[in-house]
């Protein structure tokens, strides 16, 4: 077992078999997490550095927990506490950390392609934990796992992704992943929050939420960032709520009755989704979060196999 690759940079370059392997391994990991003692010695001796150049709570904590559950040693490095403020380059920072014999670097950075840039220059494996508006592969893997648990088959599922598609790395990775698994995707947002170019993604688009809702199996709701109003992508949050907020009433009127709701978090209650829906029977949101640790354990495990086997390095 293992992935025949040094890094996990994006869903773009994963095959559907690799996605399946990561998810199958994640199911084993979930079993570990259900044991009374939620820890395995699998990655003992492996050192992981979490390099976060952007604020994060759930992704960072879920990686930290995944590392602990597998008995890896880990260090956390965040931009606020780093030498970046003193003018050190990203590459120098990463090389310094690598010099401490780190095997895996989990990187979140605001610049698209930073993990790719580092991966070409480092011996250590690089896991992309979100690079600007580009990709967030582990989040997409978590979402695909959540969907797999709730539906017999992903192929043919009708999924609407609603919200700020233009600036969302989650939506890019998710679209790439779900396409590989054969789902049918519609994106729905005001035109300013949709890219002008959608051909590379192979998705349908719909400006009107009322038209996007009918017949969908899953509504994947993206967080609307308040800055988008200051940047004039939308006239006001109030207007966004009027047109795009997922409410009970809209679901009752337009959506199929067994539709489910997903959201990568953190939720703006009352903005992109009506507060009580987030906690309702429609919602898979907490199930997404609980898959998070298992998927990240799986990725860490599969990428370390090269190192642990000693066969490839």
């Amino acid at each position: 077992m293992g992935l025949d690759r040094k890094d996990l940079l994006g869903i773009q370059d994963l095959s559907s078999n690799e996605i399946k392997e990561i998810l199958t391994t994640a199911e084993y990991m979930e079993e570990i997490l259900k044991r009374p003692i939620k820890k395995a010695p699998t990655l003992r001796g492996i050192t992981v550095a979490n390099l976060f150049f952007e604020p994060s709570t759930r992704t960072l904590n879920s990686f930290i927990l995944a590392e602990k559950r597998l008995s890896a040693d880990s260090i956390n490095f965040s931009a606020a506490s780093s030498s970046v403020l003193k003018g050190e380059t990203l590459l120098d920072t990463a090389k310094n950390i690598q010099a401490m014999e780190v095997d895996i670097m989990v990187v979140r950075h605001y610049a698209p392609g930073s993990p790719h840039f580092l991966s070409k220059r480092l011996r250590a494996s690089v896991i992309n934990a979100g690079d600007g508006c580009h990709e967030h592969p582990t989040q997409a893997l978590i979402d695909i796992m959540t969907i797999k648990k709730n539906f017999s088959e992903i192929k043919g599922l009708k999924i609407a992704i609603i919200g700020d598609i233009k600036h969302s790395r989650v939506s890019r990775s998710l679209i790439l992943g779900l396409n590989k698994m054969g789902a049918e995707i519609t994106v729905c947002a005001p035109p300013t929050l949709l890219p002008l170019w959608l051909e590379p993604f192979g998705v349908e688009f719909e400006y009107s939420l009322e038209k996007a809702l009918p017949g969908k199996d899953i509504l994947y709701i993206l967080r609307i960032q308040k800055e988008r109003q200051e940047e004039s992508f939308i006239p006001s949050i109030r207007e966004y709520i009027k047109n795009y907020s997922i409410t009970y009433e809209k679901l009752k009127r337009f959506a199929s009755k067994d539709v489910v709701i997903m959201h990568p978090g953190p939720i703006n209650r009352g903005i992109e989704v009506e507060s009580k829906i987030a906690d309702s029977e429609y919602s898979l949101i907490l199930s997404q979060v609980s898959s998070g640790v298992a998927v990240r354990m799986s990725v860490l495990y599969l990428l370390s196999q090269r190192k642990l086997d000693g066969s490839k390095d």
């Binding site: 590459l91 610049a111 698209p112 930073s114 840039f117 580009h134 890019r172 002008l196 590379p200």
Partner: protein
């Protein structure tokens, strides 16, 4: 007679010269015959002699950033690439907005003694876009054109005044067409590739809207506009629509050859302004030089040290080097592949830029200035980061195997570059 070059393939499309023969040079000029003793003789069998190339868009970083490039290293890069004359953009520190800097550059380039160097003065004081610079003083000190370089003149009334005032000297105002409110923090061409990669885009309209303004202001004022590094099909369309003898333009080798697909590897040597556009834009640009609609190929040689390029893409500086690869990459990719003729390539590199910038250069004729480039068209070489004479290595063409190797550069009848060696004519 100072120099005799024999058995050489003389090639000058402007004067219809395409023959093997001998050329005689005395006191820096081409002469028909001379009875005096031959000073130096070059047997250039199998080589082509072209009018020396003229670059109208280079950055040598001196004064201000001598760790990046100097007039000396930039000049070396120029002659290595076959350029016998280079016009320097004024984004130095201090900028070329006063005669002192023009004189400094002139003295420095004479000390270096390789290619000819001309200054481009600023359009506005400090390149700030607010007040016109003292163009008359700058012109008399030797400036051949005016430009605020990477700062587009955003204020249209300043642009209008610049176009009118520069009629005093009949020199072009060079604009870098970029509406910064549209390009913003963009990192690459806005299109399907930037969408996939998650980059903020620099849309084509950020260029073409300013091109439209500039060509219309030129029509209105009858002033001369020269559009720097045109990169989009829409810009070409606008130039075609409003072309007059007052409207000229240039394109770079990288915009003629590379598309935004190149950015997929996140290599910052593919990052520049304007950004690499689409394959369609490339096709249209190639046709535009073929038809003479865009008259000039300029290098936009923009050296940067590794610590400004070996970075994540969004942090890396904009700009790539070009002087050492321009001819060979265009010869290999366009002439050898039948996209344009050698005639066109030599024109866009020599006679056309010389004419637009009022330089008495760019042709082979009796009594004309003896600035020549002698090239072995059959010789191939590989672009690697070790080959550059420039201090910088930020070329988007690293790794390519190219045809066409510059063997000699002759400036005013003196050999300044010979088989890889630089010869300072002042020493």
């Amino acid at each position: 007679m100072d120099l005799k070059i024999k058995n050489v393939h003389l090639f000058d499309p402007l004067n219809g010269i395409d023959e093997v023969g001998t050329i005689l040079i005395d006191k820096g000029k081409v002469v028909k015959d001379s009875k005096s003793k031959v000073g130096q003789e070059i047997d250039a069998k199998g080589l082509y002699l072209f009018p020396g190339f003229v670059d109208v868009h280079s950055h040598f970083r001196e004064p201000g950033a001598e760790d990046t490039e100097t007039i000396e290293t930039g000049s070396r890069a120029a002659v290595k690439g076959g350029y016998t004359a280079v016009c320097l953009m004024p984004n130095t520190d201090p900028p070329i907005d006063n005669e002192g800097v023009v004189r400094f550059i002139k003295e420095k380039s004479e000390e270096v003694g390789l290619c000819r160097i001309f200054s481009i003065g600023t359009v506005t004081k400090g390149r700030k876009g607010k007040e016109l610079s003292e163009m008359s003083h700058l012109y008399e000190a030797g400036c051949v054109a005016f430009s605020d370089d990477g700062n587009c003149v955003m204020d249209s009334s300043i642009m209008r005044n610049a176009l009118e005032y520069s009629k005093l000297f009949n020199v072009p105002i060079i604009d870098h067409p970029e509406d910064i409110s549209l390009s913003g923090k963009g990192q690459m061409h806005e299109g399907s590739v930037s969408t996939e990669l998650g980059f903020k885009g620099i849309p084509g309209v950020s260029e073409s809207t300013v091109v439209a303004r500039d060509v219309l202001l030129s029509k209105f004022t009858k002033g001369r506009i020269h559009l720097a590094h045109v990169s989009t099909a829409d810009s070409v369309k606008l130039i075609k629509e409003w072309k007059t003898d007052k409207v000229t333009s240039e394109v770079t080798p990288h915009h003629l050859l590379l598309s935004d697909e190149e950015v997929r590897d996140f290599d910052s040597n593919k990052k520049m302004k304007p950004p690499l556009r689409t394959r369609y834009d490339i096709e249209v640009l190639q046709k535009a030089i073929k038809k003479g609609l865009i008259e000039v190929v300029a290098s936009d040689h923009a050296p940067h040290p590794d610590y400004k390029k070996e970075l994540e893409f969004t942090e890396a500086a904009f700009g790539v080097t070009g002087l050492e690869t321009s001819f060979a990459v265009l010869y290999t990719e366009l002439v050898k592949k039948g996209k344009i003729t050698l005639d066109i390539l030599i024109k866009v590199l020599s006679s056309a830029p010389a004419k637009i910038f009022n330089l008495p250069l760019g042709e082979i004729k009796e009594g004309g200035t003896a600035d020549f480039t002698i090239v072995d068209l059959k010789s191939t070489w590989q672009v690697t980061s070790e080959v550059f004479a420039s201090k910088a290595k930020n070329s988007p063409f690293i790794g390519r195997k190219l045809e066409g190797n510059v063997k000699y550069c002759i400036v005013e009848g003196k050999t300044v570059f010979k088989n890889g060696d630089f010869i300072n004519t002042e020493k």
